[in-house]
């Protein structure tokens, strides 16, 4: 294989993959590497097995895996003549997340047909009667064996199988941990067995789950849709529309509840909850938003004021409806709370224009997962135009020229040095000296949660919906995306619910906001009188948004951000397009992902 490329791309995240596809499409030789054995980089979509591994790797309290292969190679030295800098991918990658917490909820255990009596799930141990040590066994090991036997027999009785020894051992540890320090102990292991039943159920369907850890929407009138259509890459993908938008309201006569947000004029007409006067005002406002560029005089000093003030003061729209407009109809960013009237109007107009382009909705979600799925479509284009792909291929060193001004290539796991004119890298592949150069304080966090449930939390059943939590104790509010089996991300009868809220300056308030969104939708605390569905799995984590200033990097190294805080993918596309323009600045005639020739023949 050749070892000289125009561009080497490290990481298969969305931005990296779009750049790889665009460069190969323009005839440039591309080598695309990823340290991990799956596509997506910091936009991962995982099945259940991968998700559990991911939690082990990123969860608190777990020892961080050291990049041993890097250390070995560095210690052994290499043949490179210039200077080379080690890359500690695993360390970098794990720093992209914090506060990872997984909770698995118990499932009711199916009755067995031939069951004579309920199997007894209690264990009684007369601890005092067990000698502290007896030959090879200790009191500790006798207790462990008793628990293990009971658990094994119970699992066998209920035909719960397919569990890893890791999960079983941890359960035994937890049971032993929960034993009271008394001389005789009695404990019912049923809750643990019920939890293992959930594990077994999810693991048996592992590959039917595609859980996106950086969920986003595709805006129907956004640049991503245009690029997918213009480039023909959209042919590799399939989508579903976001059928409904809901908004959570805490106050009011009804108590806390969800309202369906009218997203089109038809919706406004058909809405049974809205008073006539509200309908009329809302229609008037939406009509104005569509034509606001021609009627700037109406704005009358409101241009730069908060969007909400325009809506409430100028159009006399109620607070509840104003929330709907600001957070559901004008939201593309986490900044909805401080959007100006002008910006808000253009977002609302864009939203209204999106409705009807592909159906009665403004957003799409890709089938089988999000960013990782779209990234793979761009990678395929790269491969089709000659790009070389190596997954599961750790990169240990970055090679620089003697003056340390220019990247000359990378050294891979195989010890081979691959040379390049340009290096494009996800931030996880940057040597720590480059990462440390960026201002850590400016790194933002997004508070995320993902739940798997077997029942939807809205009364209406639909495949894809967006639920907006306007800000209460926290300036950012929360967005909740619910997807069902129709999007091919979970088996029939299951739903995946994604929660996200920005951390901002006050992490504790952000945690509260996320928690109240969770509590308002699912029975996360296993309250026996709750009518909300209890999840099967709940994963909470915080994802870092990293931005490395180009000034701290060599001129021919472009670093790619992971997922940002916006609702859609358009920021990722723009970042990729900007990188393409920098790399091919001397060839201004090159088009960014032009239409393939065979599509013109059709």
């Amino acid at each position: 294989m050749e070892d000289n490329f125009h561009t080497i791309v490290l990481g298969t995240g969305l931005v990296e993959s779009i750049i790889a596809g665009a460069l190969a499409r323009s005839g440039k030789s591309v080598l695309h590497l990823d340290q991990q054995d799956r596509y997506g980089g910091s936009w991962p979509t995982l099945n259940i097995r991968q998700l559990l591994d991911w939690v082990d790797e990123h969860g608190s309290g777990m020892g961080k895996e050291v990049d041993n292969h890097v250390k070995t190679i560095v210690e052994n030295g290499s043949a490179h003549v210039g200077s080379s800098i080690p890359i500690y991918f695993t360390d970098n990658e794990s720093q992209g997340y914090k506060h990872v917490e997984l909770r698995i909820y118990g499932s009711s255990i199916p009755e067995r047909d031939h069951k004579e009596v309920d199997v007894d799930t209690t264990i009684s141990i007369d601890v005092a009667s067990i000698p502290l040590t007896d030959g090879t066994s200790t009191r500790q090991s006798v207790i462990r064996e008793t628990v293990q036997n009971k658990l094994d027999n119970t699992l066998k009785h209920y035909a719960i199988g397919g569990l890893t020894s890791d999960i079983l051992n941890r359960t035994i540890d937890r049971i032993i941990h929960s034993l009271p320090p008394t001389s005789t102990v009695t404990i019912d292991i049923l809750p643990h067995v019920q939890q293992l039943a959930t594990y077994a159920n999810l693991l048996s369907k592992s590959r039917q789950f595609n859980i996106d850890l950086a969920p986003k929407l595709v805006s129907c009138t956004g640049s991503m849709v245009d690029n997918l259509m213009d480039s023909g890459i959209g042919r590799y993908l399939e989508f579903k529309g976001v059928e409904r938008t809901y908004m959570y309201t805490q106050a009011g006569e009804q108590g806390p509840h969800f309202d369906r947000v009218p997203v089109s004029k038809e919706d406004v007409f058909q809405d049974k909850e809205l008073r006539y006067v509200d309908k009329r005002r809302l229609m008037k406002f939406l009509t104005f938003a569509m034509e606001h560029e021609e009627q700037l005089d109406v704005l009358d000093g409101y241009q730069d004021k908060p969007y909400r003030e325009l809506i409430e003061e100028k159009f006399s729209i109620s607070t509840r409806l104003a929330d709907a407009i600001v957070f559901a109809l004008a939201a593309t960013n986490g900044d909805a709370h401080n959007v100006t009237a002008m910006e808000g109007l253009s977002r609302t107009k864009r939203f209204m224009t999106s409705i009807g382009k592909f159906g009665p909705f403004a957003y799409l979600v890709p089938l089988y997962g999000g960013g990782s799925e779209i990234a793979q479509a761009y990678c395929r284009v790269c491969a089709v135009y000659g790009g070389i792909y190596m997954l599961d291929h750790p990169v240990s060193q970055l090679c620089m020229d003697e003056n340390k001004e220019k990247v000359t290539g990378v050294i891979g796991r195989d010890g081979v040095e691959y040379k390049c004119e340009w290096l494009v890298a996800g931030t996880d592949y940057l040597p720590s000296s480059f990462l440390d150069g960026s201002d850590q304080g400016a790194w933002q966090w997004v508070n995320m949660a993902v739940a798997i449930t077997s029942a939807p939390f809205h009364n209406e059943v639909n495949e894809v919906n967006l639920t907006v939590f306007p800000p209460q104790s926290h300036p950012y509010g929360s967005y909740i995306l619910t997807v069902g089996h129709g999007t091919q991300v979970c088996p029939e009868g299951y739903y995946i619910v994604f929660y996200s809220t920005l951390c901002g300056d006050d992490e504790a308030k952000s945690d509260d906001a996320l928690q109240s969104a969770l509590s308002a939708t699912l029975n996360v605390d296993e309250d026996p009188i709750s009518s909300q569905p209890k999840p099967l799995l709940l994963l909470k984590y915080k994802r870092r948004i990293r931005q490395i200033p180009p000034s701290s990097l060599p001129f021919n190294l472009i670093s790619c951000r992971g997922p940002d805080d916006t609702l859609d993918y358009d920021g990722a596309l723009k970042e990729a397009k900007d990188a393409f323009d920098i790399i091919l600045a001397n060839e201004p005639d090159r088009l960014f992902l032009p239409r393939p020739e065979e599509m013109d023949e059709e």
Binding site: R38, Y39, R207, Q208, V225, L228, M229, G232, G234, R235, Y236, L237, E238, F239, K240, G241, F358, G359, L364, L367, Y368, S372, E373, Q376, A377, C379, R380, V381, A383, V384, Y385, G386, I388, Y389, M390, L391, D392, H393, E463, H485, G486, Q488, P596, E597, E598, M599, E602
Partner: protein, 184 residues
């Protein structure tokens, strides 16, 4: 696949560069079927075919070179890989077709006998087997007719389960798309 769709053959190395997926219309039992034939685009070279490649396939075409024993011996792992990655609803009955290609070369170069190939196909649930020459256009039409027919039978079965509206596609709207996978 170039031979099949465009009736031309290219024996250049990397012949598939720029050839994304090809579409071909065939008649199956009086129905016009548009087939999308995807190849691996070289991403298999370093075991880097992503799971997205396998999504929604209606048929998997495994192609080996009858003059290369190793290419035959890897069929087993390719079949397993497909079933793992694509996770079809009914793996036992998922349609595969095996093509023994390059039969136009002289007989002395042949490394895999027809009998050996057919025995393997039978042991994997009677996979249809064709000996083809993309260069001489031998058996190519017949093989793809079978691929279309079996893929369509699978599709019909799937539609019974599927009570959702069709997903949204961006780009050219094909009314009927089946796609296969050429591991060649």
């Amino acid at each position: 696949m170039n031979q099949y769709v465009n009736k031309k053959f290219s024996n250049q190395y990397k012949a598939t560069i720029g050839a994304d997926f090809l579409t071909k219309e065939v008649m199956v039992d009086d129905r016009l079927v548009t087939m999308q034939i995807w190849d691996t685009a070289g991403q298999e070279r370093f075991q880097s075919l992503g799971v997205a490649f396998y999504r929604g396939a209606d048929c998997c075409v495994l192609v080996y070179d009858v003059n290369n024993a190793k290419s035959f011996e890897t069929l087993d792992s390719w079949r397993d890989e497909f079933l793992i990655q694509a996770s079809p609803r009914d793996p036992e009955n998922f349609p595969f077709v095996v093509l023994g290609n390059k039969i136009d070369l002289e007989e002395s170069k042949r490394m895999v006998s027809q009998k050996r190939a057919m025995t393997w196909c039978q042991s994997k649930g009677n996979i249809p087997y064709f000996e083809t020459s993309a260069k001489e256009a031998i058996n190519v039409e017949q093989a793809f007719q079978t691929i279309a027919k079996n893929a369509l039978a699978q599709e019909t079965e799937m539609e019974i389960y599927n009570d959702f509206p069709d997903p949204i596609q961006l780009g050219s709207a094909d009314n009927k798309t089946d796609f296969g996978n050429c591991a060649c």
